[in-house]
Amino acid sequence: MEYGLDLEYSFNEFLKGFGLSSEIAHIIWLPLPMLLVLVAAVVGVLVTVWLERKISAAAQQRIGPEYAGALGVLQPIADGLKLLVKEDIIPAKADGILFTAGPILVLVPVILSWLIVPFGQNLLISNVGIGIFLWIALSSIQPIGLLMSGYASNNKYSLLGGLRAAAQSISYEIPLALSVLAIVLMTNSLSTIDIVNQQSGAGILSWNIWRQPVGFIVFWICALAECERLPFDLPEAEEELVAGYQTEYAGMKFALFYLGSYINLILSALLVSILYLGGWGFPIPVELIAKFLNLPINAPLIQVFTASIGIVMTVLKAYLLVFIAILLRWTTPRVRIDQLLDLGWKFLLPISLANLLITAGLKLAFPQFFGG
């Protein structure tokens, strides 16, 4: 299955053409994918913010942003610029150090998790062996940042929001990890590349969503809860808590929270598409198309085609899920805190445990379908 473009290799060869040693070439290469992913994440946020505004407007029979660029596409950029030039306020009785460190601790793990998101066979920053486990571990750091900013704001709404966020995040992490575990069991690997490759046998038919329907739903619910999206946006419930842990924040620090929550949403959508919807795979296997066109799979044309199809498919699937998340946000009411904890501990946890057990049993019974 080792096909696809290897950009790093070609780039290093290109630099070596200028007489640079491979070490120097590697150092020049290192920041490039990181920068690219950072830019991709930020552009993704801009697109998502625009989508959120437009779709919410459509759901409420409004027009939404219209004058900033065609169809209001420049509106999120205007929002971002506004946040950039706003005054950075630290409340007089707040704890300055923790107040500043909180938003950073919220944003950094989310961006770090993009390390493992593959857009193609070789199109990811690092194919680390622990793959998806890295994301689970990193996403568990976030509640510390939320607690920190909630405490440092010296405001009861902020503190309540921070505590709620931590409780919610801890409760929903367990079913989330268990449903990922079922996928890992089927793949025999933690690496995201292997997870996608395991689903690429027969196009749309071999996607994990058909083999793990329960896991898919549990994962999606938990991912929404981890992103603090409605119906699970208790930590920042506007009617009860002003804005939860963000209440005292303004300017760039608020923008960090804002960016963090949207990057997290896109990341969750990407991971759902990788774990359950075949990642970069096209619904019809590329091998079949190549056969149909009488081209070998290693032909340059097919390679470029595969790579671009891969990126387009990953982004398309992710944005389909983002669309569903936005629709959910504007059509569902918020759950109460006791309902939230009941759903997490008494419903999702037993279901995901049973799902894991059944997956293990099916793997033993039908090794050819559930990964031997």
């Binding site: 923790l98 062996g129 622990i130 486990f133 571990a137 568990s140 510390i144 010296n154 801890i170």
Partner: protein, 199 residues
């Protein structure tokens, strides 16, 4: 390879400094909230040291368990019961400090002795298993370490049941420590507001 080794060395120095200074801060700082957050930083740096040792699975597990669960729960508990109370000054504080310092120094000297006398078997880079370690850990947990693994889970279950019994006052009619009948009302709120007079 020299650049890789230099980077590794710089990372090691930074991480060790963070671990040592952070741990001192956890013990010495007056504010318990700062101590709790610094503890999270120490755990993270230890995870970084594991990463330097090529043990990526252990590093991620360290972050997940210690930072994501233990430390979050510690901070959570501190923020829920952040009661301001005036502590009574201890009269023989100096002798207590001397005793605790001597105990700590004894432990330290023991550790240093172990470090110096033990012959550390370093596996060569060719023999290191790296990414294979996840599989290796799983194999050990389900073969020769099965009993300790299961006993640890029973221990955690016991702790959990104990916590539930202590938290649910309607389970027992008498208070465990005082022997007085338990009031079945709501747990009274802290009489003082949670966040006041913070400078």
């Amino acid at each position: 390879m020299s650049i890789a080794i230099t980077t590794q060395f710089i990372c090691f120095i930074i991480l060790s400094l963070v671990v040592i200074i952070g741990a001192l801060g956890v013990v010495l700082l007056e504010s318990i909230v700062y101590s709790a957050f610094l503890l999270g930083g120490v755990f993270m740096s230890v995870a970084g040291l594991y990463l330097l040792l090529n043990a990526s699975f252990v590093a991620a597990a360290q972050v997940l368990v210690y930072v994501g669960a233990v430390n979050v729960l510690i901070i959570f508990a501190i923020m829920l019961v952040n009661k301001k109370e005036d502590l009574k000054p201890i009269n023989d504080i100096k002798s207590r400090r001397v005793i605790s310092l001597s105990i700590c120094l004894t432990l330290l000297s023991l550790l240093i002795r172990v470090d110096l006398t033990n012959v550390w078997r370093l596996s060569s880079p060719q023999n290191s298993i790296g990414e294979e370690s996840t599989i290796r850990i799983g194999e050990h947990l389900f073969s020769d370490y099965l009993l300790p693994f299961e006993v640890a889970s029973v221990l955690l279950l016991m702790a959990m049941i104990g916590a539930i019994v202590l938290a649910r006052r309607d389970v027992m009619s008498k208070d465990i420590s005082t022997g007085l009948p338990v009031d079945q009302e709501l747990i009274e709120k802290s009489s003082e507001p949670l966040l006041t007079n913070k400078n």
